[in-house]
Amino acid sequence: MNGSRTASLTVAWRFASLRVEGFPWIPALILGVIALLAVFADVVAPYNPEVGVLGDRFRPPAWQAGGSEAHLLGTDHVGRDVLSRLIFGARVSMVVGFTAVIVAGLLGTTLGILSGYLGGWVDQVIMRVTDTWLALPALTFAIFLAAVVGPSMWNIVIILAAVYWTRYARVIRGEVLSLRERDFVRLAIVAGCSKKTIMRRHILPNVLNSAIVLGTLMLGVVIVTEAALSFLGVGVPPPKPAWGLMLADGKKGLMAGYWWLTVLPGVCIMLMVLSANLLGDWLRVKLDPQLRQL
């Protein structure tokens, strides 16, 4: 009786610790492969992604009737190699995803710390701007900005950072509000540290975990938004290969049975976002000192 209870507890414990400690190998592997492909796209991709051969339009993937080894994943409506475009598209997604997350993170974290630590009118101003920002629907706002600044890859980065910094500002401010009441911050105050020193030395390192975790979770959101903007024609301008753009180009062929033009980039987006989120979940648990075993 007692033994079986202990046994079931052990199993439960195993399960719990597996969830906490188990490194998400598959998501990490997928992200790793995508990153490698993005970096070495010039070497890996068999064809130029922006130039097609019109005689080779709508070739199906190699394993389907009519497909050939020359184009493993088929070709699109202007005869461009889908595999090459996916590989170069990974570069766009990675660059846009990471830089947008980092820029938004820097901006949001800085404002969040200032807002939370300084309080008073600084807090009021930053938080009211944040509230207003959050009240705007993210995608609509991004489309509006894109229409204003015009489509280019780096503009997309700026747009995404401008849209998503508020998420960081909110979360980080909340953390800072509780941190500033902690005794080590008070000790720093009575030891004569300036506000700048305290924010840099005592507050920032303590919110970095949250910022990193939020970043991995935001990566998925940002990539989907980039794809959505490209799909809607206000994102990365053609003929640059972006996954969202490929979806948009391919949708006309869907009824004609050219499924690979939409399904393949769709799968790529899904895998990358899912991997980023799973990795973020793992990091969140791993970096939380309350859940981490010392």
């Binding site: 000790l187 009575v190 030891a191 004569g192 540290c193 030395r201 010392l294």
Partner: protein, 332 residues
């Protein structure tokens, strides 16, 4: 010789959000402290002890303001100093130990980094120089194997050691005055004793003056040269420790001393002071202690007693001190 710290007529108020509710947390407080001496400030929770300490450091929360008085430290007026000069003073010439030293360390930095931080902020020392000093300081607060401990994180140290580290941070820049705000309340008794012993040693070696804020009269008797009793924001009695314990003039002080549980006491119930401390925002008229005072007179209900000299260096705010010859107010 002029005193290290001279506080006179100091009043601090908390003002409510609409400026309607004014709470006199510290009211007309005066005392002096000589270099190398220890002053104990005792009182119940909410009597304004911590606010007094924060006022001295000029670290009041928003909503509090210093209404009147002066704080002279080494002959300089602190209340009119610009904030930048105050910051240079804090941690360097006036150090403070907080109520919960266990939580006073940043979990992300090593002990050495945290001691070095103060030195680098105030003395502009190099990283290496600050670490060398930090190692010496860890030795000075009796931490065994300082060269190993210096690279450890707060969670790797025991509670007593963490507190010693906080002590080391406080004395890092050689302050003249140390304000200790209930530094031992979160510790168990044996560690408490060790820590108090350490503070005394440090004080003796470095000629440090201390303000020791506590509600534990036993600690006051052991640690302090002089004691000031606070009630509802006022210093109701102050004087040399021996004098206050032997011949307390104020009924509140008498009651405090009587309420110390004594070993071997056969009485089955502890002596307690009747009633609750007053709401500092709505003090009773006259003497703030009169609703709880066993010796209350008609005069106490209408008129607040002045600060009276009972004997040399012994002052009390009580009408009894006027009516009776010095020393006669004490009965035990």
């Amino acid at each position: 010789m002029s005193a290290l710290l001279e506080v006179s007529g100091l009043s601090t108020q908390y003002v409510g959000a609409r400026g309607t509710r004014v709470t006199r947390a510290v009211d007309d407080v005066s005392f002096t402290l000589e270099a190398g001496r220890t002053l104990g400030i005792v009182g119940e929770s909410g009597s304004g002890k911590t606010t007094l300490a924060l006022t001295l450091m000029r670290l009041l929360p928003p909503g509090a303001r210093i209404a009147a008085g002066s704080v002279r430290f080494e002959g300089e007026e602190l209340l009119h100093k610009p904030e930048a000069e105050m910051r240079a003073l804090r941690g360097k010439r006036i150090a403070m130990i907080l109520q919960d030293p266990m939580a006073s360390l940043n979990p992300l930095f090593t002990v050495g980094d945290q001691i070095a931080e103060t030195l680098r902020v105030h003395e502009h020392m190099s990283r290496r120089g600050a670490w060398t000093r930090a190692r010496e300081l860890l030795g000075a607060v009796n931490i065994a194997a300082p060269e190993r401990r210096i690279g450890e994180y707060p969670h790797e140290l025991s509670g007593g050691m963490r507190q010693r580290v906080v002590g080391a941070i406080a004395i890092a820049c050689g302050p003249k005055l140390l304000i200790a705000d209930e530094p031992t309340t979160s510790l168990d008794l044996t560690i408490q004793a060790q820590y108090l012993q350490l503070l005394r040693e440090i004080q003796r070696e470095r000629g440090l003056a201390m303000i020791f804020i506590t509600h534990n009269l036993g600690i006051v008797a052991k640690m302090c040269d002089a004691v000031a009793v606070m009630y509802a924001g006022r210093l109701v009695e102050s004087g040399p420790v021996r004098r206050i314990f032997d011949a307390p003039a104020h009924p509140y002080t008498q009651a405090l001393i009587e309420s110390i549980p004594r070993f071997g006491d056969t009485a089955s119930r502890l002596t307690a002071i009747e009633g609750q401390p007053p709401d500092p925002a709505a003090l009773p008229p006259g003497c703030a202690f009169h609703p709880r005072c066993p010796l209350v007179m008609d005069r106490c209900r209408v008129e607040a007693p002045p600060d009276l000299e009972v004997a040399a260096a012994h002052r009390a705010r009580c009408w009894l001190a006027v009516e009776m010859p010095a020393g006669a107010a004490a009965k035990g």
